[in-house]
């Protein structure tokens, strides 16, 4: 009987020192805007971009996406709008790089959602809307965009289809 008590004492002791759970997994993170890139000539086909540079309005860091037909853009969580400047890198017939610029404007409302003690909170987005700014540069590349959903809750599916 005494042995049992001693053993259970030890077990409780170890339990008390158990490490707090660790935050992991995409589901616990704030989702990004997922954009699938389609061919404007054959709208059923995804079209790979050689390189796209993305800079948010008012920020200086650049996100680069290379040889992909899917890009992911984060949204600011303490305002209701984020604008992204997207620069497409294209090779000209003479093998020079041509830069083509466009701007996408996202508006939304935010909701903070409790995840867990280790992860804290994540934000999901409601009433999501996306528009392409009227062409301000003389070298635009986006022909049109199509918004798939109003609710941004996960990264699993594309939220926008972009044709170029």
């Amino acid at each position: 009987m005494k042995k049992i008590w001693f053993v259970s004492l030890c077990i409780f002791g170890f339990l008390a020192c158990e490490k707090d759970d660790i935050c992991a997994g995409e589901e616990s993170e704030t989702p990004n805007i997922v954009i699938d890139l389609y061919d404007q000539i054959e709208p059923d086909n995804l079209k790979q971009a050689v390189k796209i540079a993305a800079v948010a309005n008012g920020f200086t860091d650049t996100l680069f996406f290379e040889r992909t037909s899917k890009i992911e853009l984060p949204l600011q969580i303490n305002t209701n709008a984020t604008d992204w400047n997207l620069t497409l890198y294209e090779l000209s017939p003479t093998n020079d790089t041509i830069f083509k610029k466009d701007e996408l404007k996202f508006t939304y409302t935010t909701e903070a959602l409790y995840v867990s003690k280790a992860c804290g909170y994540k934000t999901i987005f409601h009433e999501f809307n996306a528009v392409k700014s009227p062409n301000t540069t003389n070298n635009p590349w986006i022909q049109s965009i199509y918004k798939v959903t109003n609710e941004i809750t996960t990264n699993n599916n594309a939220h926008i289809q972009l044709y170029y």
């Binding site: 009987m1 005494k2 008590w5 259970s8 004492l9 409780f12 002791g13 339990l15 008390a16 158990e18 707090d20 759970d21 935050c23 995409e26 616990s28 993170e29 704030t30 990004n32 948010a56 920020f59 860091d61 996100l63 984060p74 600011q76 969580i77 303490n78 903070a112 959602l113 409790y114 995840v115 867990s116 003690k117 280790a118 992860c119 804290g120 909170y121 994540k122 934000t123």
Partner: protein, 244 residues
Amino acid sequence: MKLQQTTMRIFSFIISLFCMCSLQAQEQVPQVYPEIYGLRIGTDLIKASRNFWDKDYKGFEISADYRYNKHWYLAAEAGYENRLKTDDQLSYTTDGMFLKIGAEKNFHQNWLDMNNLIYVGGRYGFSLHSQTLHSYRINTGDAYFDEEMQYPELKSTGLMAHWLEMIVGIKAEVVHNLYIGMNVQLKGLFYQKQPEGFENLYYPGFGQKYSGNIGVGFGYGISYMIPFKKKIIQPVKQQENTRK
């Protein structure tokens, strides 16, 4: 002199723990020791001392047990806790009171006139508390936008929790009627009222919640017994040490 006596008592208690199994019936002196019945009132020294060494904690616990019969004791604890916790992702304060009631069984066979306990028991615990979310950080996978800490100061009141608890411990009489005790508790929540948009992470009397609604606790208490009556037990006739 007093200290020496105390030391002797503790020492003899420990000796009795290890030796009682091997004790053989010896020459019997027909001496009878009464069993003491009474109400023991105490406090948890860990909770009490934490007020001094942890600036984020305020709290206390009053405990009581009453001897029901030879082996069984009715026991209860009540108290108050206020605790601020700052984690990487969030910080919050839990504030409220708790009550635990239950019973415990003494498995220790006392030697001579000693009155010590090694016990196993159970409790039903209940807490009534509030939880205030002071700050949190939004978990974004990438760090493109520097996300600032949010400070909502969101207070959720009227929260509660119910749990069952298993307790194992010892109580040793160090001075006449004064006891020092240690115990460990294993607890399981079975009902709780959660704050909206958040989670109960700490409960008064229960402590921190681990995955699977499990909690653990450790107590180090001091208590005083108010004796009510003494019961004289007729000694069982010792059998002769027969050997074949």
